[in-house]
Protein backbone atom coordinates (compact mmCIF):
# COMPACT_ATOMS: atom_id res chain seq x y z
CA UNK A 1 0.00 0.00 0.00
CA UNK A 2 1.39 3.36 -0.98
CA UNK A 3 1.55 6.32 1.37
CA UNK A 4 -1.60 8.28 1.95
CA UNK A 5 -0.39 11.16 -0.20
CA UNK A 6 0.53 8.91 -3.10
CA UNK A 7 -2.82 7.14 -2.87
CA UNK A 8 -4.54 10.50 -3.07
CA UNK A 9 -2.73 11.61 -6.21
CA UNK A 10 -2.65 8.32 -8.11
CA UNK A 11 -5.64 8.31 -10.43
CA UNK A 12 -7.27 4.95 -11.13
CA UNK A 13 -8.77 4.10 -14.49
CA UNK A 14 -12.24 4.34 -12.92
CA UNK A 15 -11.43 7.88 -11.66
CA UNK A 16 -10.74 8.77 -15.27
CA UNK A 17 -14.04 7.22 -16.35
CA UNK A 18 -15.86 9.43 -13.83
CA UNK A 19 -14.04 12.57 -14.97
CA UNK A 20 -14.60 11.68 -18.63
CA UNK A 21 -18.34 11.43 -17.95
CA UNK A 22 -18.55 14.58 -15.81
CA UNK A 23 -21.45 16.70 -17.06
CA UNK A 24 -19.41 19.86 -16.46
CA UNK A 25 -16.74 18.82 -18.92
CA UNK A 26 -16.69 20.84 -22.14
CA UNK A 27 -19.11 19.35 -24.65
CA UNK A 28 -19.18 19.44 -28.42
CA UNK A 29 -20.72 22.93 -28.60
CA UNK A 30 -18.08 24.32 -26.21
CA UNK A 31 -15.42 23.03 -28.59
CA UNK A 32 -17.23 24.28 -31.68
CA UNK A 33 -17.81 27.75 -30.23
CA UNK A 34 -14.32 27.95 -28.77
CA UNK A 35 -12.50 26.73 -31.88
CA UNK A 36 -14.57 27.91 -34.87
CA UNK A 37 -15.29 31.52 -35.78
CA UNK A 38 -18.43 31.21 -37.86
CA UNK A 39 -19.89 27.75 -37.45
CA UNK A 40 -22.94 26.83 -39.49
CA UNK A 41 -24.75 23.65 -38.48
CA UNK A 42 -26.19 21.44 -41.24
CA UNK A 43 -28.80 18.78 -40.79
CA UNK A 44 -30.01 15.43 -41.99
CA UNK A 45 -28.89 12.26 -43.72
CA UNK A 46 -31.11 12.83 -46.82
CA UNK A 47 -32.61 9.40 -46.17
CA UNK A 48 -34.88 9.31 -43.14
CA UNK A 49 -33.82 11.56 -40.33
CA UNK A 50 -31.75 14.21 -38.65
CA UNK A 51 -29.97 12.68 -35.68
CA UNK A 52 -29.47 15.22 -32.90
CA UNK A 53 -26.82 12.96 -31.36
CA UNK A 54 -24.44 13.88 -34.18
CA UNK A 55 -23.60 17.54 -34.75
CA UNK A 56 -22.25 18.44 -38.17
CA UNK A 57 -21.43 21.69 -39.90
CA UNK A 58 -18.81 23.92 -41.46
CA UNK A 59 -16.74 26.55 -39.69
CA UNK A 60 -13.47 28.44 -39.84
CA UNK A 61 -10.55 27.70 -37.55
CA UNK A 62 -8.06 30.56 -37.35
CA UNK A 63 -4.69 30.64 -35.59
CA UNK A 64 -0.95 30.58 -36.06
CA UNK A 65 -1.26 32.82 -39.12
CA UNK A 66 -3.45 30.31 -40.91
CA UNK A 67 -7.15 29.88 -41.60
CA UNK A 68 -8.86 26.57 -42.28
CA UNK A 69 -12.40 26.00 -43.52
CA UNK A 70 -13.29 22.75 -41.81
CA UNK A 71 -16.14 20.31 -41.43
CA UNK A 72 -16.81 19.59 -37.78
CA UNK A 73 -18.45 16.33 -36.69
CA UNK A 74 -19.15 15.50 -33.08
CA UNK A 75 -21.22 13.44 -30.71
CA UNK A 76 -23.74 15.58 -28.86
CA UNK A 77 -24.53 14.42 -25.34
CA UNK A 78 -26.49 17.54 -24.50
CA UNK A 79 -26.10 20.08 -21.71
CA UNK A 80 -29.63 19.86 -20.25
CA UNK A 81 -32.11 17.08 -19.62
CA UNK A 82 -34.13 18.13 -22.69
CA UNK A 83 -31.01 18.06 -24.84
CA UNK A 84 -29.92 14.76 -23.31
CA UNK A 85 -33.26 13.23 -24.27
CA UNK A 86 -33.28 14.71 -27.78
CA UNK A 87 -29.78 13.44 -28.51
CA UNK A 88 -30.01 10.09 -26.68
CA UNK A 89 -27.09 11.18 -24.46
CA UNK A 90 -24.78 11.15 -27.46
CA UNK A 91 -25.73 7.64 -28.51
CA UNK A 92 -26.00 7.95 -32.26
CA UNK A 93 -28.44 6.20 -34.58
CA UNK A 94 -27.44 5.00 -38.06
CA UNK A 95 -28.88 8.28 -39.41
CA UNK A 96 -26.21 10.22 -37.52
CA UNK A 97 -23.35 8.26 -39.04
CA UNK A 98 -24.93 8.61 -42.48
CA UNK A 99 -25.26 12.38 -41.98
CA UNK A 100 -21.57 12.46 -41.04
CA UNK A 101 -20.62 10.55 -44.20
CA UNK A 102 -22.79 12.70 -46.43
CA UNK A 103 -21.12 15.89 -45.26
CA UNK A 104 -17.64 14.34 -45.18
CA UNK A 105 -18.10 13.48 -48.85
CA UNK A 106 -18.89 17.16 -49.48
CA UNK A 107 -15.83 18.24 -47.48
CA UNK A 108 -13.68 15.87 -49.53
CA UNK A 109 -14.94 17.36 -52.78
CA UNK A 110 -13.71 20.81 -51.73
CA UNK A 111 -10.64 19.59 -49.82
CA UNK A 112 -11.97 20.89 -46.51
CA UNK A 113 -10.23 19.17 -43.61
CA UNK A 114 -12.45 17.42 -41.07
CA UNK A 115 -12.25 17.73 -37.28
CA UNK A 116 -14.24 15.26 -35.19
CA UNK A 117 -15.06 15.41 -31.47
CA UNK A 118 -15.64 12.00 -29.91
CA UNK A 119 -17.76 11.73 -26.77
CA UNK A 120 -20.31 8.92 -26.64
CA UNK A 121 -21.24 6.02 -24.38
CA UNK A 122 -21.66 4.01 -27.61
CA UNK A 123 -23.92 3.68 -30.62
CA UNK A 124 -27.62 3.67 -29.70
CA UNK A 125 -28.93 0.19 -28.88
CA UNK A 126 -32.52 0.65 -30.08
CA UNK A 127 -35.04 -1.18 -32.18
CA UNK A 128 -35.12 1.37 -35.01
CA UNK A 129 -31.34 1.64 -34.88
CA UNK A 130 -31.11 -2.08 -35.67
CA UNK A 131 -33.85 -1.91 -38.30
CA UNK A 132 -32.10 0.92 -40.09
CA UNK A 133 -28.78 -0.91 -39.97
CA UNK A 134 -26.65 0.29 -37.06
CA UNK A 135 -24.01 -2.32 -37.86
CA UNK A 136 -23.96 -1.41 -41.55
CA UNK A 137 -23.74 2.33 -40.81
CA UNK A 138 -20.74 1.89 -38.53
CA UNK A 139 -19.03 -0.55 -40.87
CA UNK A 140 -19.55 1.78 -43.81
CA UNK A 141 -18.16 4.72 -41.82
CA UNK A 142 -14.97 2.83 -41.04
CA UNK A 143 -14.44 1.88 -44.66
CA UNK A 144 -15.39 5.38 -45.82
CA UNK A 145 -13.17 7.43 -43.50
CA UNK A 146 -10.20 5.13 -44.16
CA UNK A 147 -10.28 6.06 -47.83
CA UNK A 148 -11.31 9.74 -47.58
CA UNK A 149 -9.10 12.08 -49.62
CA UNK A 150 -9.06 14.97 -47.16
CA UNK A 151 -7.35 15.33 -43.76
CA UNK A 152 -9.21 14.03 -40.70
CA UNK A 153 -8.23 15.16 -37.19
CA UNK A 154 -9.90 13.25 -34.37
CA UNK A 155 -10.19 14.51 -30.79
CA UNK A 156 -11.41 12.08 -28.14
CA UNK A 157 -12.78 14.57 -25.61
CA UNK A 158 -14.73 12.45 -23.12
CA UNK A 159 -16.01 8.92 -23.51
CA UNK A 160 -14.79 6.99 -26.51
CA UNK A 161 -17.44 4.29 -26.39
CA UNK A 162 -16.62 1.37 -28.69
CA UNK A 163 -17.86 1.18 -32.30
CA UNK A 164 -20.09 4.21 -31.82
CA UNK A 165 -16.97 6.28 -31.14
CA UNK A 166 -14.72 4.62 -33.73
CA UNK A 167 -17.23 5.38 -36.51
CA UNK A 168 -16.01 9.02 -36.46
CA UNK A 169 -12.54 8.32 -35.03
CA UNK A 170 -10.69 6.91 -38.04
CA UNK A 171 -8.31 9.69 -39.01
CA UNK A 172 -4.83 10.95 -39.79
CA UNK A 173 -4.17 12.32 -36.32
CA UNK A 174 -5.96 11.00 -33.24
CA UNK A 175 -5.71 13.35 -30.27
CA UNK A 176 -7.02 12.40 -26.86
CA UNK A 177 -7.61 14.63 -23.86
CA UNK A 178 -5.70 13.69 -20.75
CA UNK A 179 -8.74 12.49 -18.78
CA UNK A 180 -10.72 11.03 -21.63
CA UNK A 181 -11.22 7.28 -21.91
CA UNK A 182 -11.55 5.12 -25.03
CA UNK A 183 -12.54 1.48 -24.90
CA UNK A 184 -13.84 -1.52 -26.80
CA UNK A 185 -16.59 -1.90 -24.18
CA UNK A 186 -17.74 0.11 -21.17
CA UNK A 187 -16.17 -1.02 -17.88
CA UNK A 188 -19.67 -1.82 -16.60
CA UNK A 189 -20.47 -3.90 -19.68
CA UNK A 190 -17.18 -5.78 -19.49
CA UNK A 191 -17.60 -6.43 -15.76
CA UNK A 192 -21.12 -7.72 -16.39
CA UNK A 193 -19.85 -10.24 -18.94
CA UNK A 194 -16.45 -11.34 -17.63
CA UNK A 195 -16.98 -10.77 -13.89
CA UNK A 196 -20.75 -11.48 -13.99
CA UNK A 197 -21.07 -8.42 -11.76
CA UNK A 198 -21.40 -4.85 -13.05
CA UNK A 199 -20.06 -3.57 -9.72
CA UNK A 200 -16.61 -4.87 -10.68
CA UNK A 201 -16.34 -2.04 -13.23
CA UNK A 202 -13.21 -0.57 -11.55
CA UNK A 203 -11.36 -3.88 -12.03
CA UNK A 204 -12.57 -4.10 -15.63
CA UNK A 205 -11.53 -0.48 -16.30
CA UNK A 206 -8.04 -1.28 -15.02
CA UNK A 207 -7.75 -4.50 -17.04
CA UNK A 208 -9.03 -2.99 -20.32
CA UNK A 209 -6.38 -0.21 -20.39
CA UNK A 210 -8.57 2.69 -21.42
CA UNK A 211 -6.73 5.82 -20.25
CA UNK A 212 -4.88 8.20 -22.56
CA UNK A 213 -1.34 7.18 -21.46
CA UNK A 214 -2.21 3.49 -21.92
CA UNK A 215 -3.67 4.09 -25.37
CA UNK A 216 -0.63 6.13 -26.43
CA UNK A 217 1.59 3.25 -25.34
CA UNK A 218 -0.56 0.78 -27.30
CA UNK A 219 -0.38 2.93 -30.42
CA UNK A 220 -4.15 3.51 -30.62
CA UNK A 221 -3.80 7.32 -30.38
CA UNK A 222 -1.14 9.79 -31.51
CA UNK A 223 -1.04 12.56 -28.93
CA UNK A 224 -2.36 13.47 -25.49
CA UNK A 225 -3.78 16.97 -24.95
CA UNK A 226 -2.99 18.13 -21.41
CA UNK A 227 -5.90 19.40 -19.36
CA UNK A 228 -5.89 22.27 -16.85
CA UNK A 229 -5.15 21.37 -13.21
CA UNK A 230 -7.91 19.19 -11.76
CA UNK A 231 -9.36 18.36 -15.19
CA UNK A 232 -11.21 20.06 -18.05
CA UNK A 233 -14.39 20.42 -15.97
CA UNK A 234 -12.53 22.84 -13.66
CA UNK A 235 -11.56 25.21 -16.46
CA UNK A 236 -13.39 24.57 -19.68
CA UNK A 237 -12.04 27.62 -21.48
CA UNK A 238 -8.41 26.62 -20.93
CA UNK A 239 -9.19 23.02 -21.93
CA UNK A 240 -10.80 24.13 -25.20
CA UNK A 241 -7.84 26.46 -25.92
CA UNK A 242 -5.39 23.57 -25.45
CA UNK A 243 -7.40 21.41 -27.87
CA UNK A 244 -7.51 24.25 -30.41
CA UNK A 245 -3.73 24.55 -30.29
CA UNK A 246 -3.24 20.83 -30.97
CA UNK A 247 -5.89 20.80 -33.72
CA UNK A 248 -4.19 23.75 -35.44
CA UNK A 249 -0.81 22.03 -35.29
CA UNK A 250 -2.30 18.84 -36.76
CA UNK A 251 -4.08 20.73 -39.55
CA UNK A 252 -0.91 22.65 -40.43
CA UNK A 253 0.97 19.38 -40.93
CA UNK A 254 -1.81 17.52 -42.75
CA UNK A 255 -3.03 20.08 -45.29
CA UNK A 256 0.44 20.06 -46.88
CA UNK A 257 0.12 16.42 -47.91
CA UNK A 258 -1.14 15.55 -51.39
CA UNK A 259 -4.32 13.39 -51.15
CA UNK A 260 -2.62 10.23 -52.43
CA UNK A 261 0.09 10.45 -49.82
CA UNK A 262 -2.42 11.34 -47.13
CA UNK A 263 -4.53 8.25 -47.85
CA UNK A 264 -1.46 6.00 -48.03
CA UNK A 265 -0.20 7.30 -44.70
CA UNK A 266 -3.59 6.84 -43.08
CA UNK A 267 -3.87 3.29 -44.39
CA UNK A 268 -0.39 2.42 -43.12
CA UNK A 269 -1.32 3.78 -39.71
CA UNK A 270 -4.60 1.83 -39.51
CA UNK A 271 -2.92 -1.28 -40.93
CA UNK A 272 -0.38 -1.23 -38.10
CA UNK A 273 -3.00 -1.49 -35.31
CA UNK A 274 -2.68 -4.75 -33.45
CA UNK A 275 -0.44 -6.96 -31.40
CA UNK A 276 -0.20 -10.62 -32.39
CA UNK A 277 2.28 -13.48 -32.63
CA UNK A 278 3.81 -13.92 -36.03
Amino acid sequence: MATKKAAKTAKTAMDCVKIARDAKRPHVWDFINGICDDFEELHGDRLVNDDAGMVAGFGTVTGGGAEYKVLVLGHHKGASVEENMASNFGMVNPDGYRKAMRLAKLAERFRNPIVTFVDTPGAYPGREAEERGQAEAIAKSLEFFAGLRTPVVVVVTGEGGSGGALAIAVGDKVLMMENAVYSVISPEGCAGILWRDGAKAPEAAEALKITAPDLLRLGAIDEIVKEPAGGAHKNGRAAVAAVKKSVLAALKELVKLPPDELVERRYAKIRAYGNFYK
Binding site: A123, Y124, P125, G126, R127, A129, E130, E131, R132, G133, Q134, A135, E136, I138, A139, K140, L142, E143, F144, A146, G147, S162, G163, L166, V170, Y182, S183, V184, I185, C190, I193, L194, W195, R196, D197, K200, E203, A204, A207, L208, K209, I210, D214, L215, L218, A220, Y267, I270, R271, Y273, G274, N275, F276, Y277, K278
Partner: protein, 272 residues
Amino acid sequence: MGWFEPKAEKPKIPPAKALWAICPKCKSHMDKAVWKKNNCICPKCNYHGRLSARERIAQVADEGTFAEVFREVSYSDHLKFHDATGDYKSKVEATIAKTGENESVVMGTCEIGGHKAMLGVMDFAFMGGSLGSGTGERIARACEQAIAERRPLVIFSASGGARMHEGILSLMQMAKTSAAIGRLKDAGLPYISVLTDPTTGGVSASYAMLGDINVTEPKALIGFAGRRVIENTIHQKLPDDFQSAEYLEKHGFIDKIVERAEMKAFIAKMLG
Protein backbone atom coordinates in the same frame (compact mmCIF):
# COMPACT_ATOMS: atom_id res chain seq x y z
CA MET B 1 -40.59 -36.73 9.41
CA GLY B 2 -37.86 -37.45 11.97
CA TRP B 3 -34.59 -35.66 12.26
CA PHE B 4 -32.38 -38.65 11.62
CA GLU B 5 -34.14 -40.48 8.85
CA PRO B 6 -31.84 -41.37 5.99
CA LYS B 7 -32.66 -39.27 2.95
CA ALA B 8 -33.27 -41.00 -0.30
CA GLU B 9 -30.68 -40.02 -2.88
CA LYS B 10 -31.99 -38.35 -5.97
CA PRO B 11 -31.61 -40.65 -8.94
CA LYS B 12 -28.93 -39.32 -11.28
CA ILE B 13 -30.54 -38.19 -14.51
CA PRO B 14 -28.11 -37.15 -17.17
CA PRO B 15 -28.87 -33.67 -18.55
CA ALA B 16 -31.02 -33.73 -21.64
CA LYS B 17 -28.29 -32.25 -23.80
CA ALA B 18 -26.02 -35.20 -23.08
CA LEU B 19 -28.55 -37.51 -24.71
CA TRP B 20 -30.23 -35.36 -27.33
CA ALA B 21 -29.41 -32.71 -29.81
CA ILE B 22 -31.65 -29.75 -28.96
CA CYS B 23 -32.40 -27.14 -31.58
CA PRO B 24 -31.47 -23.76 -30.03
CA LYS B 25 -34.31 -22.04 -31.92
CA CYS B 26 -37.37 -24.31 -31.61
CA LYS B 27 -36.06 -26.46 -28.71
CA SER B 28 -37.13 -29.67 -30.35
CA HIS B 29 -35.16 -32.73 -29.27
CA MET B 30 -33.71 -35.24 -31.68
CA ASP B 31 -31.12 -37.96 -31.78
CA LYS B 32 -27.63 -36.46 -32.06
CA ALA B 33 -26.99 -38.63 -35.09
CA VAL B 34 -30.05 -37.10 -36.80
CA TRP B 35 -28.75 -33.57 -36.14
CA LYS B 36 -25.29 -34.42 -37.50
CA LYS B 37 -26.65 -36.33 -40.47
CA ASN B 38 -28.82 -33.34 -41.34
CA ASN B 39 -25.70 -31.14 -41.45
CA CYS B 40 -26.60 -29.42 -38.15
CA ILE B 41 -29.87 -28.16 -39.62
CA CYS B 42 -33.02 -28.57 -37.56
CA PRO B 43 -35.43 -30.91 -39.42
CA LYS B 44 -38.37 -29.23 -37.63
CA CYS B 45 -37.74 -25.48 -38.03
CA ASN B 46 -34.91 -25.34 -40.61
CA TYR B 47 -32.61 -23.40 -38.26
CA HIS B 48 -29.08 -23.69 -39.66
CA GLY B 49 -26.85 -24.59 -36.71
CA ARG B 50 -23.20 -23.75 -36.23
CA LEU B 51 -20.42 -25.54 -38.06
CA SER B 52 -16.72 -25.55 -37.28
CA ALA B 53 -14.47 -23.66 -39.68
CA ARG B 54 -13.10 -26.96 -41.07
CA GLU B 55 -16.57 -28.41 -41.64
CA ARG B 56 -17.56 -25.26 -43.48
CA ILE B 57 -14.42 -25.22 -45.63
CA ALA B 58 -15.04 -28.85 -46.61
CA GLN B 59 -18.53 -27.88 -47.78
CA VAL B 60 -17.54 -24.77 -49.73
CA ALA B 61 -14.06 -25.23 -51.20
CA ASP B 62 -13.55 -27.62 -54.11
CA GLU B 63 -12.03 -30.83 -52.84
CA GLY B 64 -8.29 -30.64 -52.35
CA THR B 65 -7.97 -26.96 -53.32
CA PHE B 66 -7.90 -25.29 -49.90
CA ALA B 67 -4.39 -24.13 -48.94
CA GLU B 68 -4.29 -22.49 -45.55
CA VAL B 69 -2.37 -19.23 -45.16
CA PHE B 70 -1.28 -17.00 -42.24
CA ARG B 71 -1.38 -19.76 -39.62
CA GLU B 72 1.74 -18.13 -38.15
CA VAL B 73 -0.46 -15.18 -37.10
CA SER B 74 -2.05 -15.85 -33.73
CA TYR B 75 -3.40 -14.14 -30.61
CA SER B 76 -1.19 -12.28 -28.15
CA ASP B 77 -1.98 -11.48 -24.54
CA HIS B 78 -0.41 -8.03 -24.70
CA LEU B 79 -2.51 -6.64 -21.82
CA LYS B 80 -1.85 -9.63 -19.52
CA PHE B 81 -5.61 -9.60 -19.17
CA HIS B 82 -7.28 -11.47 -16.36
CA ASP B 83 -10.80 -11.40 -14.96
CA ALA B 84 -12.78 -13.13 -12.23
CA THR B 85 -12.67 -16.48 -14.00
CA GLY B 86 -8.97 -16.52 -14.85
CA ASP B 87 -6.52 -15.11 -17.33
CA TYR B 88 -6.94 -14.66 -21.05
CA LYS B 89 -3.82 -16.63 -21.90
CA SER B 90 -5.03 -19.85 -20.21
CA LYS B 91 -8.50 -19.46 -21.72
CA VAL B 92 -7.20 -19.03 -25.22
CA GLU B 93 -4.65 -21.84 -24.84
CA ALA B 94 -7.47 -24.14 -23.70
CA THR B 95 -9.46 -23.07 -26.77
CA ILE B 96 -6.50 -23.83 -29.02
CA ALA B 97 -6.18 -27.29 -27.47
CA LYS B 98 -9.91 -27.92 -27.87
CA THR B 99 -10.43 -26.63 -31.41
CA GLY B 100 -7.04 -27.18 -33.01
CA GLU B 101 -7.27 -23.62 -34.38
CA ASN B 102 -5.03 -20.78 -33.23
CA GLU B 103 -7.26 -17.86 -34.23
CA SER B 104 -10.96 -17.26 -34.73
CA VAL B 105 -10.71 -17.15 -38.53
CA VAL B 106 -9.17 -19.78 -40.80
CA MET B 107 -7.89 -18.27 -44.03
CA GLY B 108 -6.78 -19.88 -47.25
CA THR B 109 -6.75 -19.84 -51.01
CA CYS B 110 -9.04 -22.24 -52.81
CA GLU B 111 -11.37 -22.80 -55.72
CA ILE B 112 -15.13 -22.64 -55.37
CA GLY B 113 -16.96 -24.35 -58.22
CA GLY B 114 -13.81 -23.94 -60.29
CA HIS B 115 -13.44 -20.21 -59.54
CA LYS B 116 -10.36 -19.13 -57.60
CA ALA B 117 -11.01 -17.30 -54.34
CA MET B 118 -9.56 -16.21 -51.03
CA LEU B 119 -11.70 -17.90 -48.39
CA GLY B 120 -11.93 -16.99 -44.70
CA VAL B 121 -14.12 -18.91 -42.27
CA MET B 122 -14.71 -17.93 -38.67
CA ASP B 123 -15.10 -20.53 -35.95
CA PHE B 124 -17.53 -19.61 -33.19
CA ALA B 125 -15.99 -22.27 -30.96
CA PHE B 126 -12.79 -20.20 -30.84
CA MET B 127 -13.44 -17.61 -28.10
CA GLY B 128 -16.96 -16.98 -29.42
CA GLY B 129 -15.50 -16.14 -32.82
CA SER B 130 -14.27 -12.90 -31.32
CA LEU B 131 -12.29 -10.39 -33.35
CA GLY B 132 -8.78 -10.16 -31.95
CA SER B 133 -5.58 -8.67 -33.33
CA GLY B 134 -4.69 -11.99 -34.96
CA THR B 135 -8.12 -12.26 -36.59
CA GLY B 136 -7.89 -8.72 -37.94
CA GLU B 137 -4.37 -9.29 -39.21
CA ARG B 138 -5.35 -12.44 -41.08
CA ILE B 139 -8.24 -10.64 -42.75
CA ALA B 140 -6.13 -7.60 -43.69
CA ARG B 141 -3.41 -9.86 -45.14
CA ALA B 142 -6.06 -11.84 -46.99
CA CYS B 143 -7.29 -8.65 -48.67
CA GLU B 144 -3.75 -7.74 -49.69
CA GLN B 145 -2.96 -11.21 -51.05
CA ALA B 146 -6.33 -11.30 -52.82
CA ILE B 147 -5.43 -8.02 -54.55
CA ALA B 148 -1.98 -9.31 -55.52
CA GLU B 149 -3.37 -12.59 -56.91
CA ARG B 150 -6.64 -11.12 -58.28
CA ARG B 151 -8.79 -13.38 -56.13
CA PRO B 152 -12.34 -12.48 -55.05
CA LEU B 153 -12.79 -12.61 -51.27
CA VAL B 154 -15.35 -14.76 -49.45
CA ILE B 155 -15.69 -14.55 -45.66
CA PHE B 156 -18.03 -16.65 -43.51
CA SER B 157 -18.56 -14.75 -40.25
CA ALA B 158 -19.64 -16.22 -36.91
CA SER B 159 -18.84 -13.98 -33.99
CA GLY B 160 -20.06 -12.31 -30.84
CA GLY B 161 -17.99 -9.22 -31.64
CA ALA B 162 -14.68 -7.68 -30.64
CA ARG B 163 -12.45 -9.61 -28.21
CA MET B 164 -12.46 -7.44 -25.11
CA HIS B 165 -9.51 -9.35 -23.60
CA GLU B 166 -7.38 -7.49 -26.12
CA GLY B 167 -8.75 -4.08 -25.16
CA ILE B 168 -8.59 -1.13 -27.53
CA LEU B 169 -6.57 -3.01 -30.15
CA SER B 170 -9.48 -5.39 -30.69
CA LEU B 171 -11.67 -2.35 -31.42
CA MET B 172 -9.04 -1.08 -33.85
CA GLN B 173 -9.32 -4.33 -35.83
CA MET B 174 -12.74 -3.09 -36.94
CA ALA B 175 -11.04 -0.12 -38.59
CA LYS B 176 -8.19 -2.23 -39.95
CA THR B 177 -10.37 -4.90 -41.57
CA SER B 178 -12.81 -2.32 -43.00
CA ALA B 179 -9.94 -0.27 -44.47
CA ALA B 180 -8.47 -3.40 -46.06
CA ILE B 181 -11.86 -4.42 -47.52
CA GLY B 182 -12.15 -0.91 -48.96
CA ARG B 183 -8.82 -1.39 -50.77
CA LEU B 184 -9.95 -4.75 -52.14
CA LYS B 185 -13.06 -3.12 -53.62
CA ASP B 186 -11.01 -0.21 -55.01
CA ALA B 187 -8.85 -2.81 -56.75
CA GLY B 188 -11.96 -4.00 -58.59
CA LEU B 189 -12.43 -7.27 -56.75
CA PRO B 190 -15.72 -8.53 -55.34
CA TYR B 191 -16.27 -9.45 -51.69
CA ILE B 192 -18.98 -11.91 -50.69
CA SER B 193 -19.85 -11.82 -47.01
CA VAL B 194 -21.75 -14.77 -45.55
CA LEU B 195 -23.13 -13.86 -42.14
CA THR B 196 -23.79 -17.12 -40.30
CA ASP B 197 -25.35 -17.67 -36.89
CA PRO B 198 -24.45 -15.58 -34.94
CA THR B 199 -22.83 -12.44 -36.35
CA THR B 200 -23.08 -9.51 -33.96
CA GLY B 201 -21.26 -6.57 -32.38
CA GLY B 202 -17.91 -5.45 -33.75
CA VAL B 203 -17.84 -8.04 -36.51
CA SER B 204 -21.27 -7.16 -37.92
CA ALA B 205 -20.22 -3.50 -37.53
CA SER B 206 -17.13 -3.99 -39.69
CA TYR B 207 -16.22 -6.48 -42.42
CA ALA B 208 -19.29 -8.73 -42.13
CA MET B 209 -21.68 -5.96 -43.24
CA LEU B 210 -19.40 -4.66 -45.98
CA GLY B 211 -20.01 -7.38 -48.54
CA ASP B 212 -20.76 -6.39 -52.12
CA ILE B 213 -23.11 -9.31 -51.65
CA ASN B 214 -24.31 -10.02 -48.09
CA VAL B 215 -25.87 -13.46 -47.68
CA THR B 216 -26.92 -15.52 -44.72
CA GLU B 217 -28.53 -18.82 -43.75
CA PRO B 218 -32.11 -19.37 -42.51
CA LYS B 219 -32.81 -18.14 -38.97
CA ALA B 220 -29.26 -16.84 -38.35
CA LEU B 221 -28.94 -14.18 -35.62
CA ILE B 222 -27.46 -10.98 -37.04
CA GLY B 223 -27.35 -7.64 -35.27
CA PHE B 224 -25.30 -4.96 -33.59
CA ALA B 225 -26.44 -4.70 -29.97
CA GLY B 226 -27.66 -7.63 -27.88
CA ARG B 227 -31.39 -8.21 -27.48
CA ARG B 228 -31.28 -7.78 -23.70
CA VAL B 229 -29.32 -4.53 -23.92
CA ILE B 230 -31.90 -3.14 -26.34
CA GLU B 231 -34.88 -4.28 -24.25
CA ASN B 232 -33.33 -2.69 -21.17
CA THR B 233 -32.73 0.55 -23.08
CA ILE B 234 -36.12 0.99 -24.71
CA HIS B 235 -38.19 -0.82 -22.05
CA GLN B 236 -40.11 -2.76 -24.65
CA LYS B 237 -40.32 -6.39 -25.61
CA LEU B 238 -38.85 -7.04 -29.03
CA PRO B 239 -40.54 -9.23 -31.65
CA ASP B 240 -39.44 -12.87 -31.68
CA ASP B 241 -37.88 -12.64 -35.12
CA PHE B 242 -35.92 -9.47 -34.23
CA GLN B 243 -32.35 -9.63 -35.64
CA SER B 244 -33.09 -12.83 -37.55
CA ALA B 245 -31.86 -13.41 -41.09
CA GLU B 246 -35.45 -13.04 -42.32
CA TYR B 247 -35.88 -9.74 -40.42
CA LEU B 248 -32.67 -8.31 -41.88
CA GLU B 249 -33.66 -9.33 -45.38
CA LYS B 250 -36.99 -7.59 -44.93
CA HIS B 251 -35.22 -4.42 -43.77
CA GLY B 252 -32.85 -4.43 -46.70
CA PHE B 253 -29.48 -5.44 -45.29
CA ILE B 254 -29.20 -8.95 -46.72
CA ASP B 255 -29.21 -9.80 -50.42
CA LYS B 256 -30.40 -13.35 -50.02
CA ILE B 257 -31.01 -16.11 -47.51
CA VAL B 258 -29.39 -19.24 -48.86
CA GLU B 259 -29.91 -22.81 -47.67
CA ARG B 260 -26.73 -24.55 -46.60
CA ALA B 261 -27.02 -27.16 -49.34
CA GLU B 262 -27.21 -24.37 -51.95
CA MET B 263 -24.49 -22.11 -50.54
CA LYS B 264 -21.55 -23.35 -52.57
CA ALA B 265 -23.50 -23.21 -55.82
CA PHE B 266 -24.69 -19.69 -54.99
CA ILE B 267 -21.17 -18.40 -54.29
CA ALA B 268 -19.83 -20.08 -57.43
CA LYS B 269 -22.60 -18.43 -59.45
CA MET B 270 -21.74 -14.99 -58.04
CA LEU B 271 -18.04 -15.53 -58.80
CA GLY B 272 -18.71 -16.94 -62.26
